[in-house]
Amino acid sequence: MSEQRAKGDTSADATGLRASSLYQLITVRFKEYTREPEALFWSFGFPILLAIGLGIAFRSKPADVVHVAVVNVGPRSAALAASLRGDSGLAVEELAPDSAAVALRTGRVALVVVPSSLGAVQYQYDDTRPDARTARLMVNDAIQRGAGRADVMTVGDQHVRERGSRYIDFVVPGLLGMTIMGGGIWGLGYSIVDQRRKNLLKRLVATPMPRSQYLGSYVISRLIMLTIEVAVLLGFSTLLFGVPMRGSLFAIATIIVLSALAFGGFGLLIASRSKTIEGVSGLMNLSMLPMWVLSGVFFSSENFPSAVQPFIKALPLTATNDALRANMLRGAELTQLWPQMAVLLAWMVVCFAIALRIFRWR
């Protein structure tokens, strides 16, 4: 940075822009940040590693094989198992009744077929599990066919695997939202409380430094850092996984900046009173954990009951994730995203207003 060029005694006499306190505060933020290898890993390395991991785990592959078991009670079991093996989508094992029960309970098999007397068959499965219901359909189909049922209508399959509907396409906007949230909350919260704990905040307000510049330097440096983080994560996912970016660059930039400001305000609010790292860490985890779960980072927030949906929709991370997904995957523009933008704007205004009012400078 600047001091690499600065040598000799004249370097000390900064002039113009470099002499301004806002510029100094921002460069100091950057230096402190880039000289902290762990911080760099968590903001760059971690989201990319996560994307790679998830990309591999959920890469496009033939539809999952469904594991089922047939309880071994005699020759009928072998016949049933044989007819099930005719379906390549099923992995079939024959198990003793005890082992079958265990396999079902631990989720190793999705369904257990129990041949009973009089040629009937009973299916044991958890009807709340989607894969178990799939297994029920496939197993039943195979058994009925094996028993001689004929299809009454001719059907054909055409497989459509589109970019934008894969899991990686779903999860990258979520990871992006998570990065923005983590950067805002950790980036401001931890650092400000650390400075308060070390009495550095008190030392700074004992100088003529305008307090707005101190806070402004955090917001500005956060936005600059975020631009780099986002560029790396998005560039990586579009190049390696072909994650689509169908919306306009302007729209996605606006969503990201507004989200960053909302989470920056959130981080500032969390950091506004704490005097210990332990205290602020607790607050940060308390506020981030529910959003990791509820706001649709790794799975859709639609999975939660409709009664809590209004609450979930009001969370800033939900707004960020929904807006990013709509923009990247469906090409939605800002005019279609006003509810999410309104939520983010409200969080930003309320957080900053409260934080500035209750901020403890010493």
Binding site: E3, S11, D13, A14, Q24, V28, A206
Partner: protein, 331 residues
């Protein structure tokens, strides 16, 4: 100069000039009170510091020194009382005061990842006018360390860097809160030299310390503070002179010896005051050459043997002991 706090208040306050626009005082503090919960940290404290003076607040830990100095620095609000600095007040002139004060807090950990030069340059950027970064780094003798990270500095170097940050705005009034606490003797001496140099520029300094030698070395005048009050005020020489004793004799007897009664100690030639301390006795004496032989004669007569005998010139420590019956150190 009288130095019993209570008496001085009554005598001096009515004649205290009202603060005016032309500051006769670099610092003027009157009737200052501040309490935390049920502790009266500052309990009716008055101070006047003249321009160009190096003024010390000397007292044990918990005496209210830091609370007092932080109120003066505008970092704490007093419960009641007046504070005026350079003819300015915190409620009206905060902006100008911040430009004209230099402050070193008792415990500040500067950002460890920054270098010395980056730290000083940051603080320089806050002030409209001031010294150059290189100038200040040279002044605190950190030239060789200018590209070193703050986290790698020794305690003394960190303290000098803190001093650099305090003087980079070229302040008219410099506050130093316990500037050498926790430093080794060599680092302390180095800091004393720097403070003396700054003083030579004609700037006003107010410092707190619980080291009597530091106050004697640096301060033109000293206020001894205890329980939030000024209990003695004067130049170090005046305060020591007020004891009437130039020397202090400390001695201890072998274990098991019967205690010496105060009356016979006080009756020894040249003794002004005698008191029993934990593990021994302390005599404030005006004429060491007469007292020591007389003491030895007394002990010989009683067939008592010395375990230890030391003497030193009277210090501010002895002033504090004679005022409070307690010692400054070991707290």
């Amino acid at each position: 100069m009288g130095w019993r706090g209570g008496e001085q208040e009554d005598v001096e306050l009515p004649t205290m000039p009202e603060p005016s626009n032309s500051p006769q005082h670099a610092l003027f503090v009157r009737h200052l009170h501040k309490h935390y919960d049920d502790v009266r940290a500052v309990d009716g404290l008055d101070l006047m510091v003249a321009p160009g003076e190096c003024f010390g607040l000397l007292g044990p830990n918990g005496a209210g020194k830091t609370t007092t100095i932080e109120i003066c620095e505008g970092l704490l609000a007093p419960d009641s009382g007046d504070v005026e600095l350079l003819g300015l007040r915190w409620d009206r002139d905060e902006r100008e005061l911040r430009e004209r004060l230099g402050i070193q807090l008792q415990e500040t950990q500067l950002a460890e990842k920054l270098t010395v030069e980056e730290t000083v340059r940051l603080f320089r950027s806050f002030y409209a006018r001031g010294r150059t970064v290189a100038d200040v780094i040279g002044l605190v003798q950190l030239d060789e360390k200018r590209h070193a990270r703050v986290g790698k500095l020794s305690g003394g170097q960190k303290q000098r860097l803190a001093l650099a940050c305090a003087i980079v705005g070229d302040p008219d009034l410099l506050f130093l809160d316990e500037p050498t606490t926790g430093l080794d003797p060599q680092s302390r001496r180095q800091l004393w030299d720097l403070i003396t140099e700054f003083k030579a520029l004609g700037r006003t300094i107010m410092l707190t310390t619980h080291y009597m030698d530091e106050a004697e070395m640096l301060c033109d005048r000293v206020a001894i503070v205890d329980h939030g009050k000024v209990i003695a005020l004067g130049t170090p020489q005046e305060l020591i002179g007020s004891l009437g004793a130039e020397h202090v004799v400390e001695f201890a007897l072998l274990d098991g010896a019967p205690p010496l009664e105060d009356a016979s100690l006080a009756a020894i030639d040249g003794v002004i005051a005698a008191r029993r301390l934990a593990g021994g006795y302390e005599l404030q004496v005006s004429a060491l050459h007469r007292t020591v032989p007389a003491l030895l004669a007394l002990l010989a007569q009683r067939r008592l043997e010395l375990a230890q005998l030391t003497t030193h010139s009277a210090t501010l420590e002895d002033v504090f002991v004679s005022l409070t019956g307690r010692q400054l150190r070991n707290e």
